[in-house]
């Protein structure tokens, strides 16, 4: 394993746990009818976005998708603003114009997530193209789900990035299901990583429940990309432990499968690792947990007490340069 500083390990633990707990709070508010619209969580797959985002540098770009809460937070978008977005408040990431996980903010190098899955693959490739043209040592991380890898944009982006050797790393959160559709009805290849072969792109399969594995693979691929090596595709094998969104009980997922994956929970995984290797004492973990709870309480308070946007606000910002009437 790569030499990872103790601080970094603890940070990753913190982000994993914050992501889990924050999304649990969103879920609970959802069930109380206090948020607008639906709630999507990355439950069980947090190590994917935490791992790839933690390995990025400040000036890099994350072209994420909707199960990447860990990435949004790590890039620096505050849980306050995200919670406010979930509640449709003016203080939300998009001022109420967008909801839930449709998060983007260029100040933190996060491209907005458009619902249309895999759309951010070509968009991410375009940013990587710009970096390459300008000779900047920046990279892009793009991510989508297993279902998204069947879309044309996935393939068009992979092909283009490989042809032009762009500094981008494509991640796939392979959590076995696209809404209710299992992998074997989505594709006939055994591994999603096999799809990269068609584009002559280096690829890797990692344990998506092990944040250190994801982080290590990401870091290596970013370095390769930064040094002109071109793109890599990284398949993170994991399991979606909730329904597609909170309204979905996921009856279509065999219970045994969930039980099997529950034993591999990414957060318990990390805790055990930290404890067994004597990297951290229990009290330290406890204090991280307390800090997380406080942050989430504050975020909820902030969101609840924030004002709603006014109806007129909805007419603003259609254009960056409005045409004078």
């Amino acid at each position: 394993m790569m030499d990872i500083q103790r601080d970094d390990l603890l940070q990753m633990y913190y982000y994993l746990k914050l992501t889990r707990k924050f999304e649990e709070r969103i879920t609970s508010l959802y069930h109380q009818g206090r948020i607008l619209g639906g709630a999507w969580t990355s439950n069980g797959t947090e190590a994917v976005s935490v791992g790839y985002a933690f390995a990025l540098e400040k000036n890099d770009i994350a072209a994420s998708y909707f199960r990447d809460m860990g990435a949004f937070i790590i890039r620096g978008i505050s849980v306050k603003r995200i919670m406010a977005q979930y509640l449709g408040k003016k203080t939300g990431v998009s001022g109420g114009k967008e909801g839930n996980v449709h998060i983007g903010d260029l100040n933190y190098g996060v491209f907005g997530f458009p619902s249309h899955l895999a759309d951010n693959y070509p968009v991410g490739a375009g940013a990587a193209l710009a970096f390459k043209i300008r000779g900047e040592k920046r990279v892009v991380a793009a991510c989508t789900g297993d279902g998204g890898t069947s879309r044309g944009d996935f393939h068009e982006a992979m092909n283009f990035a490989s042809v032009r050797k762009l500094p981008i790393v494509f991640f796939c959160n392979n959590n076995q299901y696209a809404y209710s559709t299992p992998l074997h009805l989505q594709m006939a290849v055994k591994n999603i990583a096999d799809r990269a072969l068609a584009y002559g792109m280096p690829n890797k399969i990692v344990d998506g429940n092990n944040v250190v594995d994801v982080y290590t693979a990401a870091k290596e691929a970013y370095e390769f990309a930064r040094n002109g090596g071109g793109p890599t595709f990284i398949e993170c094998k994991t399991m979606r432990m909730h329904g597609h969104s909170e309204h979905d009980s996921a009856k279509y997922v065999p219970r045994e499968l969930l039980e099997e994956w529950r034993k591999k929970d990414p957060i318990t995984n990390m805790e055990t690792y930290l404890r067994e290797n004597n990297i951290v004492k229990k009290e330290e973990l406890d204090s991280i947990d307390t800090r997380i709870k406080n942050e989430i309480d504050e975020a909820e308070e902030f969101a609840e007490t924030s004002p709603y946007p006014s109806p007129e606000d909805a007419l603003e910002d259609v254009y960056a340069t409005p045409v004078e009437e």
Binding site: V93, P122, V123, A128, A157, Y319
Partner: protein, 324 residues
């Protein structure tokens, strides 16, 4: 002033913008070594190199998405659709990503998509379409459609410098068929401003693109019959220059809207609705639309000829309105 044709005007605008601004780059199929299907970017590859004039794989959604991504980090990409018809493959990226970026999360998306469009070239259903209608209903996009070399150059420069996604409809039929004077010095034609292509008293003909020339031809025929037409060349289709539209309606009180696009749900329908809603009391008759029939663009010469609105169609519409 020198005279150049429509295609040269597009080429000059692109070239000058690339020299002026390092962040301008071109993406598309066969735009590099080959110089583009219509030779608009001929010589660019030699001048600017393979990283500013990029031959892309055949993947409209992919390279349009890439243009969007590059624009988010400071570039000003110009995408060439080989034929406007293929823009349908990039529909999602334009409509859901480019058009909504600024509204959804405050990110400007300064891209230009060049769309060589229109018929009269025996191109059939997949190489002749007018595509502006597909995007006309999408807030967040801008659509321009020049009819002269002067405007082709000035509007392309304005589009490249604009901070929003612009679909630049360049009419293939006009490429080498029209020529007009263009200044030596740098200029732009502002987005969102129509022009009066011909002043007149009796009837307003509101149109854009190649149909401006057809309308002028019709106006000449009508002059012999002592009917004076005012021709409005919209230049920008989205957003429409409502002020210019209303001004001409208030002047002539009679309007014919002309476009090569098919009739149902076309730009003309919106113009007619706007006039009805805001200028009803100024009207001396119904707003009449002259447009292509609601069919795919037919191939065979007599069929295509009948498909594309002609000067005589405009003359009939105007005469009908005058008699009203």
């Amino acid at each position: 002033m020198k005279e150049i044709n429509y295609l040269e005007a597009i080429k000059e605008a692109l070239y000058e913008e690339m020299v002026r601004d390092q962040s301008v780059l071109i993406l598309g199929e066969d735009v590099g070594v080959y110089g583009g299907a219509f030779r608009v970017t001929e010589g660019f590859y030699e001048k600017f190199g393979e990283w500013r004039v990029l031959d892309t794989p055949l993947s409209e959604s992919g390279f349009t998405g890439a243009a969007i991504g590059a624009s988010l980090v400071g570039m000003r990409p110009v995408v060439e659709m080989q034929f406007a018809d293929f823009i349908s493959c990039a529909f999602d990226q334009l409509v859901n990503v480019a058009a909504k970026n600024h509204y959804r999360w405050g990110a400007a998306t300064p891209i230009v998509v060049r769309a060589p469009y229109g018929g009269n070239i025996h191109g059939g259903a997949f190489h002749s379409q007018c595509i502006e209608g597909f995007f006309f209903n999408v807030p967040g996009l801008k659509i321009v459609a020049p009819s002269t070399a002067y405007d082709a150059k000035g509007l392309l420069k304005a589009s490249i410098r604009d901070n929003d996604p612009v679909i630049y409809c360049e009419h293939k039929y006009l490429y080498r068929r029209i020529k007009d004077p263009v200044p030596e010095e740098d200029y732009v034609v502002p987005i969102g401003k129509a022009r009066v292509a011909m002043e007149g008293r009796d009837v307003s003909v509101i149109t854009y693109g190649a149909m401006v020339h057809t309308a002028i031809e019709a106006a000449q025929m009508l002059k012999d019959k002592k009917i004076s037409c005012e021709i409005i060349d919209l230049r920008t289709i989205l957003p429409l220059d409502k002020k210019s539209i209303f001004t001409t309606v208030q002047k002539t009180n009679k309007v014919v809207v002309v476009h090569e696009q098919t009739k149902t749900g076309g730009v003309g329908a919106e113009i007619s609705a706007l006039i009805n809603e805001y200028c009803f009391e100024y009207l001396d008759g119904p707003v009449i639309r002259v447009a292509a029939p609601d069919t795919p663009v037919p191939f065979s010469a007599p069929m295509e000829e009948a498909f594309i609105p002609k000067a005589s169609d405009i003359v009939s519409a105007v005469e009908k309105l005058v008699r009203y």
